[in-house]
Protein backbone atom coordinates (compact mmCIF):
# COMPACT_ATOMS: atom_id res chain seq x y z
CA UNK A 1 0.00 0.00 0.00
CA UNK A 2 1.28 3.40 -0.97
CA UNK A 3 0.24 6.45 1.00
CA UNK A 4 -1.10 8.63 -1.80
CA UNK A 5 -2.05 11.61 0.38
CA UNK A 6 -0.60 14.99 -0.43
CA UNK A 7 -1.03 18.31 1.29
CA UNK A 8 -1.25 21.18 -1.14
CA UNK A 9 -1.09 24.60 0.42
CA UNK A 10 -3.45 23.83 3.27
CA UNK A 11 -5.66 21.31 1.49
CA UNK A 12 -5.28 17.62 2.19
CA UNK A 13 -5.88 15.57 -0.95
CA UNK A 14 -6.35 11.81 -1.08
CA UNK A 15 -4.02 11.70 -4.07
CA UNK A 16 -2.08 14.12 -6.25
CA UNK A 17 -4.20 13.87 -9.43
CA UNK A 18 -6.83 16.43 -10.37
CA UNK A 19 -8.29 17.99 -13.51
CA UNK A 20 -7.07 21.25 -15.03
CA UNK A 21 -9.55 24.10 -15.02
CA UNK A 22 -11.64 24.27 -18.19
CA UNK A 23 -11.17 20.61 -19.07
CA UNK A 24 -13.53 19.21 -16.48
CA UNK A 25 -17.24 19.39 -15.78
CA UNK A 26 -19.98 17.29 -14.30
CA UNK A 27 -20.53 15.46 -17.59
CA UNK A 28 -17.33 13.55 -16.96
CA UNK A 29 -19.06 11.64 -14.20
CA UNK A 30 -20.45 9.44 -16.95
CA UNK A 31 -16.99 7.93 -17.24
CA UNK A 32 -15.06 8.83 -14.10
CA UNK A 33 -15.86 8.37 -10.42
CA UNK A 34 -15.19 11.82 -8.97
CA UNK A 35 -14.64 10.30 -5.53
CA UNK A 36 -11.38 8.90 -6.82
CA UNK A 37 -9.91 12.28 -7.78
CA UNK A 38 -7.50 14.19 -5.59
CA UNK A 39 -9.53 17.34 -6.15
CA UNK A 40 -12.08 18.81 -8.53
CA UNK A 41 -10.95 22.04 -10.17
CA UNK A 42 -13.74 23.69 -12.04
CA UNK A 43 -13.76 25.95 -15.08
CA UNK A 44 -12.78 29.50 -14.23
CA UNK A 45 -15.73 31.63 -13.23
CA UNK A 46 -16.12 35.36 -13.48
CA UNK A 47 -18.62 37.68 -11.92
CA UNK A 48 -19.61 39.06 -15.23
CA UNK A 49 -21.97 37.34 -17.59
CA UNK A 50 -20.03 36.31 -20.69
CA UNK A 51 -20.71 34.23 -23.78
CA UNK A 52 -17.14 33.30 -24.61
CA UNK A 53 -15.24 33.81 -27.83
CA UNK A 54 -16.08 33.60 -31.50
CA UNK A 55 -16.16 30.20 -33.23
CA UNK A 56 -14.20 28.12 -34.14
CA UNK A 57 -12.90 27.86 -30.62
CA UNK A 58 -10.53 24.91 -30.96
CA UNK A 59 -8.20 23.41 -33.51
CA UNK A 60 -5.76 20.54 -33.66
CA UNK A 61 -2.01 21.00 -33.76
CA UNK A 62 0.88 18.52 -33.64
CA UNK A 63 0.30 16.61 -30.36
CA UNK A 64 -1.74 19.45 -29.03
CA UNK A 65 -4.64 21.79 -29.49
CA UNK A 66 -5.45 25.45 -29.52
CA UNK A 67 -8.40 26.80 -27.63
CA UNK A 68 -9.95 30.19 -27.50
CA UNK A 69 -12.98 29.17 -25.51
CA UNK A 70 -12.73 32.25 -23.39
CA UNK A 71 -14.66 32.09 -20.18
CA UNK A 72 -18.33 31.68 -20.95
CA UNK A 73 -19.80 32.54 -17.62
CA UNK A 74 -23.31 32.26 -16.37
CA UNK A 75 -22.73 34.68 -13.53
CA UNK A 76 -22.79 34.33 -9.77
CA UNK A 77 -26.40 33.33 -9.19
CA UNK A 78 -25.90 30.33 -11.45
CA UNK A 79 -22.70 29.51 -9.56
CA UNK A 80 -24.53 29.54 -6.22
CA UNK A 81 -27.62 27.73 -7.34
CA UNK A 82 -26.28 25.21 -9.85
CA UNK A 83 -22.54 24.82 -9.93
CA UNK A 84 -21.81 24.61 -6.22
CA UNK A 85 -24.48 22.02 -5.35
CA UNK A 86 -23.38 19.89 -8.31
CA UNK A 87 -19.95 19.40 -6.81
CA UNK A 88 -20.52 19.58 -3.09
CA UNK A 89 -22.35 16.25 -3.45
CA UNK A 90 -18.92 14.65 -3.65
CA UNK A 91 -16.52 14.36 -0.75
CA UNK A 92 -13.59 15.28 -3.02
CA UNK A 93 -12.23 18.78 -2.31
CA UNK A 94 -13.62 21.43 -4.65
CA UNK A 95 -11.26 24.05 -6.03
CA UNK A 96 -12.91 27.10 -7.54
CA UNK A 97 -10.96 28.87 -10.27
CA UNK A 98 -11.67 32.58 -10.48
CA UNK A 99 -10.74 35.38 -12.80
CA UNK A 100 -11.36 39.10 -12.99
CA UNK A 101 -10.26 42.07 -15.03
CA UNK A 102 -9.09 44.19 -12.07
CA UNK A 103 -7.32 43.69 -8.78
CA UNK A 104 -10.44 44.67 -6.87
CA UNK A 105 -12.54 42.39 -9.02
CA UNK A 106 -10.29 39.48 -8.10
CA UNK A 107 -10.46 40.35 -4.42
CA UNK A 108 -14.21 40.69 -4.23
CA UNK A 109 -14.83 37.56 -6.29
CA UNK A 110 -12.52 35.62 -3.98
CA UNK A 111 -14.52 36.91 -1.05
CA UNK A 112 -17.76 35.93 -2.72
CA UNK A 113 -16.72 32.33 -3.46
CA UNK A 114 -15.26 31.73 0.00
CA UNK A 115 -18.18 29.51 0.86
CA UNK A 116 -18.72 26.28 2.75
CA UNK A 117 -17.89 23.40 0.44
CA UNK A 118 -15.12 25.26 -1.32
CA UNK A 119 -11.74 23.80 -0.35
CA UNK A 120 -9.47 26.25 -2.12
CA UNK A 121 -9.44 29.09 -4.59
CA UNK A 122 -7.35 28.89 -7.74
CA UNK A 123 -6.65 32.35 -9.09
CA UNK A 124 -6.33 32.26 -12.88
CA UNK A 125 -4.27 35.38 -13.36
CA UNK A 126 -3.55 34.77 -17.04
CA UNK A 127 -6.43 37.02 -17.98
CA UNK A 128 -6.03 40.56 -19.30
CA UNK A 129 -5.61 43.26 -16.67
CA UNK A 130 -7.81 46.13 -17.72
CA UNK A 131 -5.94 48.51 -15.47
CA UNK A 132 -2.69 47.80 -17.26
CA UNK A 133 -3.40 47.99 -20.92
CA UNK A 134 -4.84 44.51 -21.11
CA UNK A 135 -1.54 42.80 -20.31
CA UNK A 136 -2.13 39.62 -18.36
CA UNK A 137 -1.64 39.88 -14.60
CA UNK A 138 0.56 36.79 -14.79
CA UNK A 139 2.97 38.39 -17.26
CA UNK A 140 4.76 40.63 -14.78
CA UNK A 141 5.87 39.93 -11.25
CA UNK A 142 4.44 43.21 -9.99
CA UNK A 143 0.91 42.75 -11.30
CA UNK A 144 0.87 39.08 -10.36
CA UNK A 145 1.89 40.06 -6.87
CA UNK A 146 -0.75 42.79 -6.57
CA UNK A 147 -3.54 40.48 -7.64
CA UNK A 148 -2.37 37.75 -5.28
CA UNK A 149 -2.02 40.10 -2.33
CA UNK A 150 -5.47 41.57 -2.87
CA UNK A 151 -7.08 38.13 -2.98
CA UNK A 152 -5.09 37.03 0.06
CA UNK A 153 -6.55 39.90 2.10
CA UNK A 154 -10.12 38.91 1.27
CA UNK A 155 -10.17 35.17 1.79
CA UNK A 156 -8.97 32.78 4.42
CA UNK A 157 -9.32 29.81 2.08
CA UNK A 158 -6.16 28.19 0.77
CA UNK A 159 -5.08 30.20 -2.25
CA UNK A 160 -3.55 28.58 -5.31
CA UNK A 161 -2.26 30.89 -8.00
CA UNK A 162 -2.00 29.67 -11.59
CA UNK A 163 0.91 31.13 -13.51
CA UNK A 164 1.23 31.80 -17.21
CA UNK A 165 4.02 30.15 -19.21
CA UNK A 166 4.24 33.13 -21.57
CA UNK A 167 6.99 34.79 -19.59
CA UNK A 168 10.74 35.27 -19.67
CA UNK A 169 11.43 34.30 -16.09
CA UNK A 170 8.74 32.24 -14.41
CA UNK A 171 10.79 31.73 -11.25
CA UNK A 172 10.77 35.46 -10.61
CA UNK A 173 6.99 35.53 -10.87
CA UNK A 174 6.70 32.45 -8.68
CA UNK A 175 8.71 34.19 -5.97
CA UNK A 176 6.59 37.33 -6.18
CA UNK A 177 3.36 35.38 -5.93
CA UNK A 178 4.67 33.33 -3.02
CA UNK A 179 5.71 36.49 -1.23
CA UNK A 180 2.21 37.89 -1.74
CA UNK A 181 0.71 34.99 0.16
CA UNK A 182 -0.08 32.18 -2.28
CA UNK A 183 -0.32 28.77 -0.63
CA UNK A 184 0.51 26.87 -3.81
CA UNK A 185 1.32 27.54 -7.46
CA UNK A 186 -0.17 25.92 -10.52
CA UNK A 187 2.42 25.77 -13.32
CA UNK A 188 1.04 26.58 -15.86
CA UNK A 189 -1.70 27.83 -18.14
CA UNK A 190 -1.58 27.61 -21.96
CA UNK A 191 0.91 29.13 -24.41
CA UNK A 192 -0.39 31.92 -26.59
CA UNK A 193 -0.33 30.49 -30.09
CA UNK A 194 -2.06 30.50 -33.45
CA UNK A 195 -2.72 28.46 -36.57
CA UNK A 196 -3.66 29.48 -40.08
CA UNK A 197 -5.88 27.78 -42.61
CA UNK A 198 -3.93 28.21 -45.82
CA UNK A 199 -6.95 27.58 -48.01
CA UNK A 200 -9.16 30.29 -46.54
CA UNK A 201 -6.07 32.32 -45.54
CA UNK A 202 -7.69 33.00 -42.21
CA UNK A 203 -6.76 32.11 -38.65
CA UNK A 204 -8.10 28.73 -37.59
CA UNK A 205 -9.55 30.24 -34.43
CA UNK A 206 -12.33 32.76 -34.46
CA UNK A 207 -10.35 34.94 -32.08
CA UNK A 208 -7.08 34.64 -34.09
CA UNK A 209 -4.87 33.52 -31.20
CA UNK A 210 -5.57 30.99 -28.49
CA UNK A 211 -3.89 28.78 -25.94
CA UNK A 212 -1.74 25.80 -26.87
CA UNK A 213 -2.07 22.77 -24.59
CA UNK A 214 -1.44 19.04 -24.76
CA UNK A 215 1.65 16.80 -24.93
CA UNK A 216 3.45 19.21 -27.27
CA UNK A 217 4.06 21.72 -24.47
CA UNK A 218 5.07 19.25 -21.77
CA UNK A 219 8.85 19.64 -22.04
CA UNK A 220 8.60 23.42 -21.65
CA UNK A 221 6.21 23.37 -18.70
CA UNK A 222 8.21 20.61 -17.04
CA UNK A 223 11.25 22.87 -17.18
CA UNK A 224 9.21 25.71 -15.66
CA UNK A 225 7.96 23.43 -12.91
CA UNK A 226 11.54 22.49 -12.09
CA UNK A 227 12.60 26.13 -12.03
CA UNK A 228 9.67 27.15 -9.80
CA UNK A 229 10.21 24.24 -7.42
CA UNK A 230 13.76 25.44 -6.88
CA UNK A 231 12.66 29.05 -6.45
CA UNK A 232 9.86 28.77 -3.90
CA UNK A 233 8.90 26.78 -0.80
CA UNK A 234 5.16 26.46 -1.43
CA UNK A 235 4.01 23.35 -3.27
CA UNK A 236 3.83 23.34 -7.06
CA UNK A 237 1.03 21.72 -9.00
CA UNK A 238 2.39 20.74 -12.40
CA UNK A 239 0.07 21.18 -15.38
CA UNK A 240 0.91 20.89 -19.05
CA UNK A 241 0.64 18.01 -21.46
CA UNK A 242 0.32 15.24 -18.92
CA UNK A 243 -1.14 12.22 -20.71
CA UNK A 244 0.17 9.24 -18.77
CA UNK A 245 1.42 8.27 -15.34
CA UNK A 246 4.98 8.49 -16.67
CA UNK A 247 4.41 12.13 -17.57
CA UNK A 248 2.98 12.87 -14.13
CA UNK A 249 5.95 11.15 -12.49
CA UNK A 250 8.32 13.30 -14.56
CA UNK A 251 6.61 16.34 -13.08
CA UNK A 252 6.74 15.02 -9.53
CA UNK A 253 10.41 14.08 -9.81
CA UNK A 254 11.07 17.59 -11.11
CA UNK A 255 9.42 19.04 -8.02
CA UNK A 256 5.64 19.07 -8.45
CA UNK A 257 3.66 17.97 -5.39
CA UNK A 258 0.56 17.27 -7.46
CA UNK A 259 -0.52 17.37 -11.08
CA UNK A 260 -3.42 18.62 -13.14
CA UNK A 261 -4.52 16.69 -16.20
CA UNK A 262 -6.15 18.75 -18.93
CA UNK A 263 -6.34 18.24 -22.68
CA UNK A 264 -5.75 14.50 -22.63
CA UNK A 265 -9.10 14.01 -20.91
CA UNK A 266 -10.71 15.10 -24.19
CA UNK A 267 -8.96 12.24 -25.95
CA UNK A 268 -9.00 9.66 -23.16
CA UNK A 269 -11.79 10.55 -20.76
CA UNK A 270 -10.50 8.24 -18.03
CA UNK A 271 -6.91 9.46 -18.28
CA UNK A 272 -6.90 10.88 -14.72
CA UNK A 273 -7.66 7.44 -13.34
CA UNK A 274 -4.90 5.75 -15.31
CA UNK A 275 -2.47 8.48 -14.28
CA UNK A 276 -3.43 7.91 -10.66
CA UNK A 277 -3.17 4.14 -10.87
CA UNK A 278 0.10 4.34 -12.75
CA UNK A 279 1.69 6.60 -10.15
CA UNK A 280 0.66 4.16 -7.45
CA UNK A 281 2.13 1.14 -9.29
CA UNK A 282 5.35 3.03 -9.90
CA UNK A 283 5.63 3.77 -6.18
CA UNK A 284 4.93 0.13 -5.36
CA UNK A 285 7.45 -1.13 -7.89
CA UNK A 286 10.13 1.25 -6.71
CA UNK A 287 9.39 0.71 -3.04
CA UNK A 288 8.16 4.17 -2.16
CA UNK A 289 5.84 4.15 0.83
CA UNK A 290 4.55 7.65 0.28
CA UNK A 291 3.86 9.34 -3.03
CA UNK A 292 5.39 12.47 -1.54
CA UNK A 293 8.76 10.71 -1.66
CA UNK A 294 8.73 11.25 -5.42
CA UNK A 295 8.55 15.01 -5.10
CA UNK A 296 11.79 16.58 -6.29
CA UNK A 297 13.60 13.23 -6.28
CA UNK A 298 15.25 14.04 -9.60
CA UNK A 299 18.96 13.55 -9.30
CA UNK A 300 20.79 16.22 -11.19
CA UNK A 301 24.49 15.66 -11.32
CA UNK A 302 26.56 18.77 -11.16
CA UNK A 303 26.78 19.18 -14.91
CA UNK A 304 30.33 19.83 -15.90
CA UNK A 305 28.86 22.48 -18.19
CA UNK A 306 31.85 22.54 -20.45
CA UNK A 307 29.99 24.61 -22.92
CA UNK A 308 29.33 27.38 -20.49
CA UNK A 309 32.98 27.90 -19.71
CA UNK A 310 33.79 30.37 -22.36
CA UNK A 311 37.51 30.01 -22.62
CA UNK A 312 39.77 32.80 -23.74
CA UNK A 313 39.61 33.56 -27.42
CA UNK A 314 42.40 31.83 -29.23
CA UNK A 315 43.63 34.89 -30.97
Amino acid sequence: MVDMNVEIGGVRLANPVMPASGTFADGLDKAVDFERLGAMVIKTITRELRVGNALPRVCETPEGMLNSIGIPSKGMPYFHEETLPTYTRYSTPLVVSISAPTVDGFASLADEVSLPGVAAIEANISCPNLEEDGKAFANEAASAERATAAIRRRTSLPLWVKLSPNVTDIAEIARAVEAAGADALVVANTFLAMAVDIESQRPRLGSVTGGLSGPAIRPIVLRMTWQCARAVDVPIIGCGGIATAEDAIEYMLAGASAVQVGTVTFVHPTAMISVLEGIESYCLRRGYERVTDLVGALSVEEADETDMEWVDPLR
Binding site: K30, M65, P72
Partner: protein, 282 residues
Protein backbone atom coordinates in the same frame (compact mmCIF):
# COMPACT_ATOMS: atom_id res chain seq x y z
CA UNK B 1 -23.65 38.58 -30.18
CA UNK B 2 -24.54 38.69 -26.53
CA UNK B 3 -27.35 36.83 -24.92
CA UNK B 4 -29.13 37.42 -21.64
CA UNK B 5 -28.48 33.85 -20.61
CA UNK B 6 -25.68 32.22 -22.48
CA UNK B 7 -26.35 28.76 -21.22
CA UNK B 8 -30.05 28.29 -20.56
CA UNK B 9 -30.65 24.56 -20.30
CA UNK B 10 -32.82 23.26 -23.12
CA UNK B 11 -35.94 21.57 -21.84
CA UNK B 12 -35.21 18.10 -23.23
CA UNK B 13 -31.78 17.72 -21.67
CA UNK B 14 -32.55 14.46 -19.98
CA UNK B 15 -29.55 12.16 -20.06
CA UNK B 16 -30.03 9.07 -22.18
CA UNK B 17 -27.62 6.74 -20.55
CA UNK B 18 -26.12 7.44 -17.19
CA UNK B 19 -22.79 6.03 -18.19
CA UNK B 20 -20.35 6.29 -21.04
CA UNK B 21 -17.13 4.40 -21.47
CA UNK B 22 -14.10 4.05 -23.68
CA UNK B 23 -14.45 0.82 -25.64
CA UNK B 24 -11.61 -1.02 -27.31
CA UNK B 25 -13.57 -2.51 -30.20
CA UNK B 26 -12.60 -4.73 -33.06
CA UNK B 27 -13.42 -3.70 -36.60
CA UNK B 28 -15.57 -6.33 -38.30
CA UNK B 29 -16.22 -4.53 -41.55
CA UNK B 30 -15.14 -1.24 -43.10
CA UNK B 31 -16.29 -0.91 -46.66
CA UNK B 32 -17.30 1.65 -49.21
CA UNK B 33 -21.05 1.65 -49.81
CA UNK B 34 -20.73 4.03 -52.74
CA UNK B 35 -18.26 6.57 -54.09
CA UNK B 36 -18.63 8.79 -51.03
CA UNK B 37 -19.69 6.77 -48.00
CA UNK B 38 -18.09 4.06 -45.93
CA UNK B 39 -19.81 1.62 -43.59
CA UNK B 40 -17.90 0.52 -40.52
CA UNK B 41 -19.05 -2.16 -38.09
CA UNK B 42 -17.31 -2.88 -34.81
CA UNK B 43 -17.83 -5.19 -31.87
CA UNK B 44 -19.54 -3.54 -28.92
CA UNK B 45 -20.59 -4.49 -25.42
CA UNK B 46 -24.11 -4.02 -23.98
CA UNK B 47 -23.47 -0.50 -22.71
CA UNK B 48 -22.37 0.52 -26.20
CA UNK B 49 -25.27 -1.15 -27.97
CA UNK B 50 -27.69 0.58 -25.59
CA UNK B 51 -27.03 3.73 -27.62
CA UNK B 52 -30.26 5.51 -28.59
CA UNK B 53 -31.18 6.91 -31.98
CA UNK B 54 -29.53 10.31 -32.39
CA UNK B 55 -26.84 9.65 -29.82
CA UNK B 56 -23.23 9.45 -30.93
CA UNK B 57 -19.88 7.92 -30.21
CA UNK B 58 -16.65 9.85 -30.07
CA UNK B 59 -14.16 7.90 -32.19
CA UNK B 60 -10.42 7.83 -31.91
CA UNK B 61 -9.16 7.74 -35.48
CA UNK B 62 -5.71 6.34 -36.24
CA UNK B 63 -2.86 8.84 -36.57
CA UNK B 64 -2.43 10.18 -40.03
CA UNK B 65 0.69 12.29 -39.63
CA UNK B 66 2.10 14.91 -37.30
CA UNK B 67 -0.96 17.10 -37.60
CA UNK B 68 -3.32 14.56 -36.20
CA UNK B 69 -6.06 13.65 -35.93
CA UNK B 70 -5.58 14.70 -32.32
CA UNK B 71 -9.22 15.00 -31.25
CA UNK B 72 -11.77 12.25 -31.43
CA UNK B 73 -14.42 12.45 -34.18
CA UNK B 74 -18.14 12.37 -33.37
CA UNK B 75 -20.28 9.90 -35.34
CA UNK B 76 -23.92 9.18 -34.73
CA UNK B 77 -24.80 5.56 -34.52
CA UNK B 78 -26.20 4.12 -37.73
CA UNK B 79 -27.17 0.77 -36.28
CA UNK B 80 -26.72 -0.83 -32.89
CA UNK B 81 -27.32 -4.56 -32.67
CA UNK B 82 -27.39 -5.74 -29.05
CA UNK B 83 -27.85 -9.35 -30.09
CA UNK B 84 -24.91 -9.42 -32.48
CA UNK B 85 -22.98 -7.18 -30.12
CA UNK B 86 -22.12 -4.65 -32.81
CA UNK B 87 -22.44 -0.97 -33.61
CA UNK B 88 -22.28 0.42 -37.12
CA UNK B 89 -21.60 3.85 -38.55
CA UNK B 90 -21.99 5.34 -41.97
CA UNK B 91 -19.45 8.01 -42.71
CA UNK B 92 -18.15 10.24 -45.39
CA UNK B 93 -14.43 10.71 -45.89
CA UNK B 94 -13.94 14.44 -45.52
CA UNK B 95 -10.64 15.16 -43.79
CA UNK B 96 -7.75 13.71 -41.86
CA UNK B 97 -9.78 11.82 -39.28
CA UNK B 98 -12.23 10.09 -41.57
CA UNK B 99 -9.44 9.46 -44.08
CA UNK B 100 -7.50 7.62 -41.38
CA UNK B 101 -10.67 5.82 -40.30
CA UNK B 102 -11.12 4.55 -43.83
CA UNK B 103 -7.76 2.75 -43.63
CA UNK B 104 -8.93 0.39 -40.89
CA UNK B 105 -9.31 -3.24 -41.85
CA UNK B 106 -11.27 -6.04 -40.20
CA UNK B 107 -9.35 -7.16 -37.14
CA UNK B 108 -7.96 -3.68 -36.41
CA UNK B 109 -8.89 -1.99 -33.16
CA UNK B 110 -11.22 1.00 -32.95
CA UNK B 111 -11.53 3.03 -29.78
CA UNK B 112 -15.09 4.30 -29.26
CA UNK B 113 -16.19 6.54 -26.43
CA UNK B 114 -19.89 6.74 -25.70
CA UNK B 115 -22.81 6.58 -25.97
CA UNK B 116 -23.01 10.37 -25.76
CA UNK B 117 -25.48 13.15 -26.16
CA UNK B 118 -29.22 13.51 -26.21
CA UNK B 119 -30.99 11.49 -28.87
CA UNK B 120 -34.36 11.79 -30.54
CA UNK B 121 -37.45 11.73 -28.33
CA UNK B 122 -40.74 10.30 -29.63
CA UNK B 123 -43.97 11.54 -28.05
CA UNK B 124 -46.33 8.60 -27.39
CA UNK B 125 -49.27 10.32 -29.13
CA UNK B 126 -47.54 10.72 -32.51
CA UNK B 127 -48.87 8.22 -35.04
CA UNK B 128 -47.05 9.17 -38.20
CA UNK B 129 -43.78 10.99 -38.54
CA UNK B 130 -41.87 12.42 -41.46
CA UNK B 131 -38.09 12.25 -41.57
CA UNK B 132 -36.35 14.42 -44.10
CA UNK B 133 -32.63 14.03 -44.52
CA UNK B 134 -29.81 14.67 -46.88
CA UNK B 135 -26.38 13.20 -47.40
CA UNK B 136 -24.82 11.66 -44.38
CA UNK B 137 -27.64 13.08 -42.26
CA UNK B 138 -29.60 10.02 -43.33
CA UNK B 139 -27.24 7.89 -41.26
CA UNK B 140 -28.44 9.72 -38.17
CA UNK B 141 -32.11 9.41 -39.10
CA UNK B 142 -32.13 5.69 -39.97
CA UNK B 143 -32.17 4.41 -36.38
CA UNK B 144 -34.91 6.93 -35.56
CA UNK B 145 -37.10 5.51 -38.32
CA UNK B 146 -36.46 2.07 -36.90
CA UNK B 147 -37.33 3.20 -33.39
CA UNK B 148 -40.55 4.88 -34.57
CA UNK B 149 -41.57 1.78 -36.50
CA UNK B 150 -40.85 -0.37 -33.46
CA UNK B 151 -43.19 1.91 -31.52
CA UNK B 152 -45.90 1.38 -34.08
CA UNK B 153 -45.58 4.75 -35.78
CA UNK B 154 -45.83 5.21 -39.51
CA UNK B 155 -42.74 6.71 -41.10
CA UNK B 156 -42.37 8.63 -44.32
CA UNK B 157 -38.73 9.14 -45.23
CA UNK B 158 -37.79 11.85 -47.71
CA UNK B 159 -34.22 11.08 -48.71
CA UNK B 160 -32.27 13.68 -50.59
CA UNK B 161 -28.90 13.30 -52.29
CA UNK B 162 -26.83 14.79 -55.07
CA UNK B 163 -27.35 11.77 -57.30
CA UNK B 164 -28.79 8.25 -57.11
CA UNK B 165 -25.23 6.91 -56.99
CA UNK B 166 -24.57 8.51 -53.62
CA UNK B 167 -28.05 7.97 -52.19
CA UNK B 168 -27.71 5.93 -49.04
CA UNK B 169 -29.90 3.94 -46.71
CA UNK B 170 -32.98 3.67 -48.87
CA UNK B 171 -33.23 -0.07 -48.10
CA UNK B 172 -32.58 0.55 -44.44
CA UNK B 173 -35.67 2.80 -44.28
CA UNK B 174 -37.76 0.49 -46.44
CA UNK B 175 -36.77 -2.46 -44.25
CA UNK B 176 -38.55 -0.89 -41.29
CA UNK B 177 -41.63 -0.31 -43.40
CA UNK B 178 -41.12 3.37 -44.10
CA UNK B 179 -42.57 4.99 -47.20
CA UNK B 180 -39.48 6.19 -48.98
CA UNK B 181 -39.38 9.20 -51.28
CA UNK B 182 -35.99 9.60 -52.91
CA UNK B 183 -35.10 12.92 -54.46
CA UNK B 184 -31.86 13.93 -56.16
CA UNK B 185 -30.24 17.06 -57.51
CA UNK B 186 -29.23 15.09 -60.59
CA UNK B 187 -32.86 14.14 -61.21
CA UNK B 188 -33.99 17.70 -60.56
CA UNK B 189 -36.33 16.38 -57.88
CA UNK B 190 -34.66 17.82 -54.78
CA UNK B 191 -35.34 21.52 -55.27
CA UNK B 192 -37.01 23.39 -52.41
CA UNK B 193 -40.20 24.17 -54.31
CA UNK B 194 -40.77 20.56 -55.26
CA UNK B 195 -39.90 19.32 -51.77
CA UNK B 196 -42.29 21.81 -50.26
CA UNK B 197 -45.08 20.45 -52.45
CA UNK B 198 -44.23 16.90 -51.37
CA UNK B 199 -44.26 17.87 -47.70
CA UNK B 200 -47.46 19.87 -47.98
CA UNK B 201 -48.99 16.77 -49.56
CA UNK B 202 -47.86 14.64 -46.62
CA UNK B 203 -49.23 17.16 -44.15
CA UNK B 204 -52.55 17.23 -46.00
CA UNK B 205 -52.65 13.43 -45.91
CA UNK B 206 -52.16 13.45 -42.12
CA UNK B 207 -48.81 11.77 -42.33
CA UNK B 208 -46.87 14.43 -40.39
CA UNK B 209 -47.43 14.44 -36.65
CA UNK B 210 -43.79 15.44 -36.31
CA UNK B 211 -40.78 16.32 -38.45
CA UNK B 212 -37.26 15.06 -38.04
CA UNK B 213 -34.28 16.27 -40.00
CA UNK B 214 -30.54 16.20 -40.27
CA UNK B 215 -27.87 17.16 -42.76
CA UNK B 216 -29.18 20.18 -44.61
CA UNK B 217 -29.63 23.77 -43.67
CA UNK B 218 -32.13 24.34 -46.46
CA UNK B 219 -34.26 21.42 -45.28
CA UNK B 220 -34.13 22.75 -41.73
CA UNK B 221 -35.41 26.13 -42.85
CA UNK B 222 -38.18 24.58 -44.90
CA UNK B 223 -39.33 22.31 -42.07
CA UNK B 224 -39.22 25.17 -39.58
CA UNK B 225 -41.47 27.22 -41.82
CA UNK B 226 -43.94 24.40 -42.42
CA UNK B 227 -43.80 23.43 -38.74
CA UNK B 228 -44.69 26.94 -37.69
CA UNK B 229 -47.44 27.22 -40.32
CA UNK B 230 -49.11 23.96 -39.32
CA UNK B 231 -48.08 23.74 -35.68
CA UNK B 232 -46.14 20.56 -36.29
CA UNK B 233 -43.42 19.83 -33.73
CA UNK B 234 -40.07 18.51 -34.73
CA UNK B 235 -36.46 17.78 -33.94
CA UNK B 236 -33.20 18.37 -35.72
CA UNK B 237 -29.83 16.68 -35.23
CA UNK B 238 -27.01 19.22 -35.53
CA UNK B 239 -23.28 18.96 -36.09
CA UNK B 240 -20.51 21.03 -34.64
CA UNK B 241 -16.79 20.53 -34.16
CA UNK B 242 -16.16 18.79 -30.84
CA UNK B 243 -13.20 18.31 -28.56
CA UNK B 244 -14.44 16.64 -25.36
CA UNK B 245 -17.90 15.41 -26.39
CA UNK B 246 -18.96 15.59 -22.74
CA UNK B 247 -20.01 19.17 -22.21
CA UNK B 248 -16.74 20.19 -20.62
CA UNK B 249 -14.92 22.39 -23.12
CA UNK B 250 -17.60 24.61 -24.66
CA UNK B 251 -16.09 24.47 -28.14
CA UNK B 252 -19.24 23.03 -29.72
CA UNK B 253 -21.69 25.75 -28.77
CA UNK B 254 -24.33 26.97 -31.19
CA UNK B 255 -26.91 29.67 -30.84
CA UNK B 256 -30.57 28.80 -30.29
CA UNK B 257 -33.75 30.83 -30.22
CA UNK B 258 -35.08 30.48 -26.71
CA UNK B 259 -37.82 32.55 -25.09
CA UNK B 260 -37.35 35.38 -27.57
CA UNK B 261 -33.62 35.57 -26.86
CA UNK B 262 -30.54 33.77 -28.07
CA UNK B 263 -29.00 31.06 -25.92
CA UNK B 264 -25.72 29.19 -26.39
CA UNK B 265 -25.93 25.45 -26.10
CA UNK B 266 -23.38 22.68 -26.39
CA UNK B 267 -24.18 20.36 -29.28
CA UNK B 268 -22.45 17.43 -27.55
CA UNK B 269 -24.27 17.78 -24.26
CA UNK B 270 -27.54 19.60 -24.79
CA UNK B 271 -27.91 17.86 -28.18
CA UNK B 272 -27.01 16.85 -30.84
CA UNK B 273 -30.81 16.58 -31.16
CA UNK B 274 -32.63 19.87 -30.59
CA UNK B 275 -36.09 21.25 -30.93
CA UNK B 276 -36.74 22.06 -34.58
CA UNK B 277 -37.86 25.62 -33.96
CA UNK B 278 -35.11 26.53 -31.50
CA UNK B 279 -32.32 25.68 -33.93
CA UNK B 280 -30.84 28.61 -35.82
CA UNK B 281 -29.87 27.79 -39.35
CA UNK B 282 -26.23 28.28 -40.28
Amino acid sequence: MKSPDPGAEPHHATAYSIAAAEFDCEVIENEAVNAEYMHIVATADPLATSVAAGQFFHMLCPKDGPNGPFFRRPMSVYKADPKAGTVAFLYKVTGSGTRALATLAPGDRLDLFGPLGVGFALEPDWRRIVVVGRGVGLATLAPLAELAAANGMGVTAVLSARSPAVMISGERFRAVGADVIEVTDAGGTSGPARLERVLRGLIADGMADAFFTCGSNRLLLLLQRLGREFGIPGQVALEQQMACGLGMCFCCVREFRVDGGVAHRRVCWDGPVFDLQEAISW
